[in-house]
């Protein structure tokens, strides 16, 4: 294997791994903040117990999310130095803004929150977790703006053999970036919701600390449904903008080969990349794809054949990840609706209580393949239309990359296993005795 392939593999592995932890940070931070706010406003100690319980899981997850993020920043320089030279003027600044504006804030206040239970007034302490939640999500904004610029470069001029900044405001406010950001955090927030729902359901089903977990369940049920609905409707806008911003990605997502009008959407399809057609096409909904792009069932949609073969992304991977993401999103919506519907009588819903813990991995998978779609669908470009991926890689020895990739596999699998083991153990253990309210009935119901 050569440096290019190894570097791509390494970036994929380290990004996937990093993104196993990021969405929970983005989503759960708000839920913990809401639970603590409920405690501060009502004085109900059970909310405090719930805050500490989910806060502990949050911290176990947070630690690994932070340290694996450093890997990604370093890799642009270590493995993608040609890319870094080419885009540093814009892309590098966005990363630097992220560190200055947001990363400092979340990393500093996470310590304040964890160590400050006794040292700060309840209001100030609650403020600390809100700062962590908001800062994490602002941090995500700058990262997404940087990624959106790779997907859809704007506000630049080509000068001195590199892309130089021409309009900072255009870069940070472009529609592509805003949509990508909203869709990413939406997915992360509903993941946080399912995490709390699943764990609360697990405890309620076993009659452990029911009155505490009923509270967290209710908060999460509302939260999760809101963002499931939001994510579906908002997601449509992301597909729509691809029609103009990345038509090739859109065509690959739908495995749509020939530019045409009145394009249907096939409920069942399977791409055949070699013969540039679909091996299977069944159950068409007439004009739907044209409609989704143009709000007009007769509109023209560009097909994959409009660009030469070497400028197309891998069709099967793009197509499958899109389909799977949408299917999982719909599944999540129905489960969220169910949980919302029964949130007030949740103890009497054994089936729902049994299903919900099993749902926790689903939004994880949806988040991962959503990113896979965004990144694989961008290929063969590292910066869409400006720089091909193979031109971005560092001129370094493949042995170095192979060694680091091996080390990442080893260290990351061990750390991932330990981290999920700890989350699993502490999630099942329930609130620690010393965090329980002294007065209310929190024993077996």
């Amino acid at each position: 294997m050569d440096t290019l392939l190894l570097s791509r593999l390494q970036f994929a592995v380290t990004t996937w791994f990093h993104y196993l932890f990021v969405p929970l940070t983005l989503g759960l931070s708000f839920l913990v903040a809401i639970l603590e706010t409920a405690y501060v406003r009502t004085g109900d100690e059970e909310y405090k117990t719930a805050t500490k319980f989910f806060g502990k899981l949050f911290l176990i997850n947070f630690a690994i999310g932070i340290v694996t993020g450093i890997t990604l920043e370093f890799q642009f320089g270590t493995n993608w130095s040609q890319y870094s030279k080419f885009v540093g003027d814009i892309f590098g600044s966005l990363l630097a803004v992220e560190a200055t504006v947001a990363f400092f804030l979340e990393s500093t206040f996470i310590g304040v929150w964890f160590f400050g239970w006794k040292k700060l007034s309840p209001k100030l302490h609650c403020g600390a977790i809100w700062i962590v939640a908001i800062a994490s999500n602002i941090s995500a904004f700058w990262i997404i703006v940087a990624n959106a610029w790779m997907q859809h470069p704007v506000g630049y001029v080509m000068r001195n053999g590199r892309a130089e900044l021409a309009d900072f405001f255009a870069v940070i406010t472009q529609k592509f970036a805003i949509l990508e950001y909203v869709h990413t955090v939406g997915g992360a927030w509903l993941l946080g919701g399912f995490f709390v729902l699943g764990i609360s359901a697990w405890h309620i089903a076993r009659g452990s600390h029911v009155s505490i977990f009923r509270k967290s369940f209710k908060v999460a049920a509302i939260w999760t449904l809101v963002f499931c609905v939001f994510e579906m409707f908002q997601g449509h806008l992301n597909a729509e903008i691809l029609g103009t911003a990345q038509p090739t990605k859109l065509a690959a997502m739908e495995s749509h080969w020939n530019t045409a009008n009145d394009v249907p959407m096939y409920l069942i399809a399977w791409p055949d990349e070699k013969n540039e057609t679909n091996a299977i096409e069944a159950l068409p909904i007439p004009g739907l794809m044209s409609f989704l792009v143009h709000y007009n069932p007769h509109g023209q949609v560009q097909g994959l054949k409009a660009v030469p073969k070497q400028d197309r992304p891998p069709v099967l991977a793009t197509f499958l990840s899109f389909r799977l993401m949408v299917a999982l999103g719909i599944l999540l919506f129905w489960v969220a609706l169910w949980a919302f519907w029964k949130r007030k009588e949740i103890e009497g819903q054994p089936l729902l209580l049994k299903i919900l813990p099993w749902m926790i991995p689903v939004p994880y998978l949806a988040n991962q393949i959503g990113w896979t779609l965004a990144e694989v669908g961008r290929q063969p470009w590292i910066v869409y239309g400006l720089m091909r991926t193979e031109h971005g890689v560092s001129k370094i020895d493949a042995v170095q990359v192979a060694s680091s990739l091996g080390a990442f596999f080893l260290v990351y699998s061990l750390l991932g296993a330990v981290d999920f083991y700890l989350i699993w153990t502490y999630a099942r253990k329930g609130p620690l005795p010393e965090t329980l309210p002294t007065t209310s009935n929190t024993g077996k119901a």
Binding site: L59, S84, F103, F104, T108, V112, Q400, L415
Partner: protein, 341 residues
């Protein structure tokens, strides 16, 4: 002018990073040797508890500043120092999770694993950063394409190794002083004894490093062209001496502050001595990456200057607040009363 300003910000970001992460890297290397029981270990670890994460962001910022202001330097440095940077990364990853994981399972073996990760993950970055910076001071064999013709062993030349040892002992001393300020009773006495011994070692290694710098680099010659910058090494010496004086007088926070001054000034001495080189090429001076040939566009430099001027003071303000607010000593009692690792 913009390039010079950004070169200064770049240097200051590294200096602040070494000053802040320096004491927690030093503590992380030192604590098993100064403690006997698990409670003692936890007291030392919790002494850096609320701070280390925010400190490490200065590394991200220093990296980010390099990327944003000097993309060519970022690309050359990070790809050229691939293996040491990956080692640094793995060390920091293991260390970061170790703090969180260590207390989560009640087993001696479990804690030993994470104690090892903290020590390994603290010692290796200190050493590698020292080796890397000494090599940057002396120059590395990069060609005009920005490709490094050396490898890990070329970096481990005598001057690089002295630089590595210098960083390690400087951070150990800094960490010991932090522990003196943050603990009480037996542990404080032990930390003070360690700090006292480490001061002597630091002094000797610092002198060796400075002398070696005269022969191995052009730092001194470069500084002598602008003698006002000789204030930097002078202030470093003042800081190192003052840390000793304050420690003997029992004024522990000022002792740590003086050590901070020492680290900052020692770093700035090196950085100022490099100017305008960021990566001096030992093959061909024309291949050197400088603040001028590596800089971003004036527009980016201006916008980023605005961002830094607005937000860094805010960062410094709230980090200072955290340092002040969490400055009281960690003891067995405080561990049992409040949240802790």
């Amino acid at each position: 002018m913009l390039e010079t300003i950004w070169f200064s910000i770049w240097g200051v970001a590294w200096a602040v990073y070494f000053m802040l992460d320096g004491f927690d890297l030093g503590m992380g290397t030192l604590y098993p040797f100064l403690t006997r029981t698990d409670t003692e270990k936890r007291i030392f670890i919790n002494a850096i508890g609320p701070f280390w994460d925010g400190n490490e962001v200065w590394l991200i910022t220093a990296g980010g500043v390099t990327f944003a202001a000097f993309p060519l330097a970022y690309a050359t440095m990070f790809s050229g120092l691939y293996t040491p940077l990956m080692m640094l990364l793995f060390a920091l990853i293991l260390r970061g999770v170790a703090f969180e994981f260590r207390g989560k399972v009640d087993s001696v073996g479990w804690r030993k694993v994470w104690d090892f990760c903290i020590v390994f993950g603290s010692f290796v970055p200190a050493l590698l950063l020292g080796v890397a910076f000494a090599n940057l001071f002396a120059g590395i064999p990069v060609d005009k394409e920005g490709i490094n013709h050396g490898n890990l062993l070329t970096l481990l030349n005598p001057y690089g190794l002295v630089g590595g040892v210098f960083f390690v002992v400087m951070f150990l001393h800094h960490g010991a002083l932090w522990l003196v300020a943050k603990t009480r009773d037996t542990l404080q006495i032990r930390a003070a004894q360690a700090a006292s011994k480490l001061w002597v070692v630091t002094l000797l290694v610092a002198v060796a490093f400075l002398v070696h710098t005269w022969f191995a680099t052009r730092l001194w010659q470069n500084l002598l062209t602008r003698p006002v910058f000789l204030a930097l090494p002078l202030l470093a010496v003042v800081g190192l001496v003052a840390s000793r004086v304050f420690l003997l007088k029992g004024r522990f926070w000022p002792a740590w502050g003086a050590s901070s001054l020492f680290i900052v000034m020692a770093t700035l001495f090196g950085v100022a001595g490099m100017f305008p080189n960021i990566i001096a090429s030992s093959l061909d001076p024309a291949a050197s990456v400088t603040a001028f040939n590596a800089a971003s566009s004036p527009l980016t430099l201006k916008i980023m200057l605005g961002v830094v001027l607005v937000f860094l003071p805010v960062v410094i303000a709230y980090q200072t607040w955290v340092y002040v607010h969490f400055s009281d000593p960690v003891t067995e009692k405080s561990l049992s009363e409040g949240p802790s690792y």
